[in-house]
C-alpha cells in the first residue's frame, strides 16, 4: 500500500511537471518560415471560394487569399498546405495551432472576434444571407416563406439569422441542419426542404451542383450582413500584420490598376510613387513586416490583384457570374477599401 502511494506521488509530480508547462506559441511567422509551407484552413468544397478542380488543385477566392500569404512569405504561392474543415471544426483548428490562418468564408461577428481568442484580419468578401427556392413554387419574396422547411449548414451564422428573421416577421419555419454545404444542397435537391438558405455567394456556388441548376432561383432578399474574411489567432500581431497586408496589397493593386500581366512593366517603367511603393521599389518595402522586399510584387505577379481573383473565381470569368456589387472598390461605389501603402 505504502509503496503504491509513493509511486503515485512520483507519477503525479512527473505529470505536474509535464502538463503545467504552458504551450509556447512562438511567432507564427517564424514558425511558418521554418516549416517552409503555410497551413491554410479552407472549406471542404465550395466552388468559387475553395474547391478542388479536376486535377486536384485548390482554386477559389479564399484559396487565392492563402496563396497571397505564401507568395508574400516565401515568394512562392504554391507553398501552401490546405486543410479542408467543416464549419464546426474551423475555430478549434485555428485555436489549437493546427492551421496558421483560416480563410473559409467566416463571418466576422463580435462574439467570434472577442470570445474565441481570434482576430479577423480583413473582409475579402462582403456577403449577406439569401434564399434559394425551386422555380416551380412561384415564390418571389422571402415574406412568402411562412411555414417553409429550410436546409441549412450546421454551425453557421445562417441558423441564427434565419431564426431572427422569422421571429421579426412573425412567421414559422422548420430547419433541417446538415453537416456540410454539400449535404444541405443535396437535401434541397431531393426536396427534403422548400428552401436552401446560406450566404448568397454560397447559394450561387451550390446552385452549380444541383441536378437542374436552372430550376432553382435565388431570391433578391438579403436578411443579414455577412462580412467574410481571413482569421488568425489573437495576440500574434506580427502574423496578423502579414495576413492583413497581403490582402491589402491585392486591393491596392486593384485600385492602382496593377495586374499580374502588367506588373513587370509597371515595375520597370512606372513613375507613380504609389505604384513604386506597391511593387517594392521605394519606401520601407518588406522590412517592418519582416518579409522579403518584393513581397507585394510576388503577390501581384503570382496571384493577381483583387479584381483578377474575383473575376476568375466568382465573377464573369467563372460559372458563378456574381457581380462585384458590394465588393467593388470604394471609388466604384463598393465597400472594398484598403489603407494606403506608405
Amino acid at each position: 500500500m505504502k509503496k503504491y502511494s509513493i509511486r503515485a506521488i512520483i507519477c503525479m509530480i512527473a505529470c505536474l511537471l509535464i502538463i503545467s508547462v504552458p504551450p509556447v506559441i512562438a511567432g507564427t511567422l517564424d514558425e511558418v518560415k521554418k516549416r517552409g509551407t503555410l497551413v491554410c484552413g479552407v472549406s471542404t468544397g465550395l466552388p468559387g471560394f475553395s474547391a478542388t478542380d479536376e486535377k486536384g488543385n485548390w482554386k477559389g477566392l479564399d484559396v487565392d487569399g492563402c496563396r497571397a500569404i505564401a507568395a508574400a512569405v516565401f515568394g512562392d504561392a504554391n507553398k501552401v498546405k490546405y486543410a479542408p474543415l467543416n464549419a464546426k471544426e474551423r475555430f478549434t483548428a485555428l485555436q489549437s495551432g493546427e492551421i496558421d490562418v483560416l480563410v473559409r468564408g467566416t463571418t466576422w461577428t463580435k462574439q467570434r472576434d472577442t470570445a474565441l481568442g481570434l482576430n479577423f484580419a480583413g473582409v475579402n468578401y462582403y456577403d449577406g444571407q439569401g434564399f434559394m427556392v425551386p422555380k416551380k413554387l412561384g415564390i418571389n419574396s422571402a415574406k412568402e416563406l411562412d411555414g417553409a422547411i429550410f436546409c441549412i449548414h450546421a454551425g453557421t451564422t445562417s441558423e441564427l439569422n434565419l431564426a431572427d428573421y422569422f421571429a421579426k416577421h412573425n412567421m414559422t419555419y422548420e430547419a433541417v441542419v446538415f453537416d456540410t454545404h454539400d449535404q444541405a444542397a443535396k437535401g434541397f435537391d431531393a426536396g427534403r426542404c422548400d428552401c436552401l438558405t446560406a450566404d448568397q455567394s454560397q447559394l450561387y456556388a451550390l446552385r452549380t451542383h444541383l441536378r437542374k441548376p436552372y430550376e432553382a432561383v435565388i431570391l433578391k432578399d438579403i436578411i443579414s450582413k455577412e462580412p467574410l474574411g481571413p482569421v488568425v489567432r489573437q495576440g500574434d500581431d506580427a502574423w496578423f500584420n502579414v495576413v492583413r497586408w497581403s490582402f491589402f496589397a491585392m486591393i491596392n493593386a486593384d485600385e492602382l490598376g496593377v495586374t499580374s500581366a502588367n506588373v513587370n512593366a509597371m515595375r520597370s517603367r512606372s513613375v507613380n510613387p504609389a505604384i513604386r511603393r506597391l511593387v517594392g521599389l521605394d519606401g520601407d518595402r518588406g522590412k517592418s513586416l519582416n518579409l522579403p522586399d518584393d513581397w507585394s510584387y510576388q503577390i501581384i505577379k503570382q496571384v493577381g490583384n483583387y479584381a483578377e481573383s474575383f473575376r476568375r473565381n466568382v465573377g464573369s470569368g467563372s460559372a458563378l457570374k456574381i457581380d462585384r456589387g458590394l465588393n467593388a472598390l470604394w471609388k466604384d461605389g463598393g465597400l472594398q477599401y484598403a489603407p494606403p501603402m506608405r
Partner: protein, 365 residues
Amino acid sequence: MLGTVLFFFLIGANALSNLEQQGITSGFAFLSQKAGFGIIQTLISYNEASTYGRTFLVGLLNTILVSVLGIICATLLGSFIGIARLSSNWLIAKLAALYIEIFRNLPLLLQVFFWYFAVLRSLPLPRNSLHIGDWLFLNIRGIYLPRPLPDPGFILLITVLCISVIGVAALVLWARKRQEKTGKELPILPLSFAILILPAAVVWCITGGPMHWEYSTLRGLNFKGGITIIPELAALLLALTVYTASLIAEIVRSGILSVSSAQTEAARALGLPQRKILRLVVIPQAMRVVIPQMTSQYLNLIKNSSLAAAIGYPDLVAVFAGTSLNQTGQAIEIIAMTMGVYLTLNLTTSWLMNRYNARILSQEQ
C-alpha cells in the same frame, strides 16, 4: 483514487489557465444564454428564445428517444430473426442467415446513409404524397399521423384503464398462487383482455368517446397538424434497428443453443406443450447467456445513435456538441458535458441490465 482526481484537477486547471492566456472564454455561464436557433424535433417546448441549457435538454431527449425506440425494436426484430435462424424450415432459416450476414457486415454509417439517401429520399414530394385515406400521409418530408386530442371525460377513461391494469396484475399473482396450491390453470390471457377492455368500453360509450383526432393537412407548402415523424428519425431508427438486430439475432441463437437438448427432451417427456417448453424451460436458461451480451449491444446502440449528426437528426451531438458548440466556441465544456451524458446513459443501462441479470441468476438457484 486520490491521485486520479488530482491528475484530472491539474489537467483542468492547466487547460483553464491556457484558455485564459489565449483570450478564450470559459465556464458554464453560456448555459443560461439565449441560443437563438430552431430545432426541427423537440419533445419539450422549445423556441428560438430558449437557452443553451434548454438545447442541451432537447438534444438529450432526442438521443434518449431514438435509443429507447432502437433498443425495443432491435430486441424484438433480433429475437425473431434469431429464432427464425433455428427454424426447421430450410427457407426461413436461410433467409434469416442471409439477413444476419448482410447487415452485420456493413458499416453502420453506410447503412444510415443507405436508408436516408437511397430509400427515404426516393419518396414523393408533399403534393404527391402517398396516403391511406386522409389520416396517414407519407412523403419525402416525413410520415404524418393524426394526433389524439382529449375531450372532457378523458381523465376518467385513463383512470379506469389504470385500475384495470392493476386488476390484471392482481389476477396474474392470484392465478399463480392458485396453480401452486391446486395445480389448476386459469385462462389468463382472455381474462386479462376482458378486464382491460370491458370497463374501458363502458366508459367510452357513456362519455361518448372522450377524444378526437387532429388530422394532418397540406396547408401552404407543407403538412400541418397531427404528429410528424421526420425522415431523419425514421432513417436513423431503421439503420440502428436493422444493424443491431443482426447482432442480437446471433446472441439469441447462441443462447438457445446453449440450453442442452436433454432439457427440451425431458420437458417433452413430462408432456409440456411446445409453447411452454420454450417459455418455461428454454428461455429462462438461455437468458443467462443472452443478457450480458445483450447489455453490450444496448450500450453500443446508444453510442451509435450519435451518427445522427451525419444525416441531420437533432440529437445531442448534432444540436449541442454541434451548433451550440459552434455558436459559443466553448468546446471543452460542451464536449465534457456530452461525454458525461453518454457515460451516464450507458452506466444506467448497464446497471439496470446487471440487476435484471442478477435476478435471473438468483431465480435459477
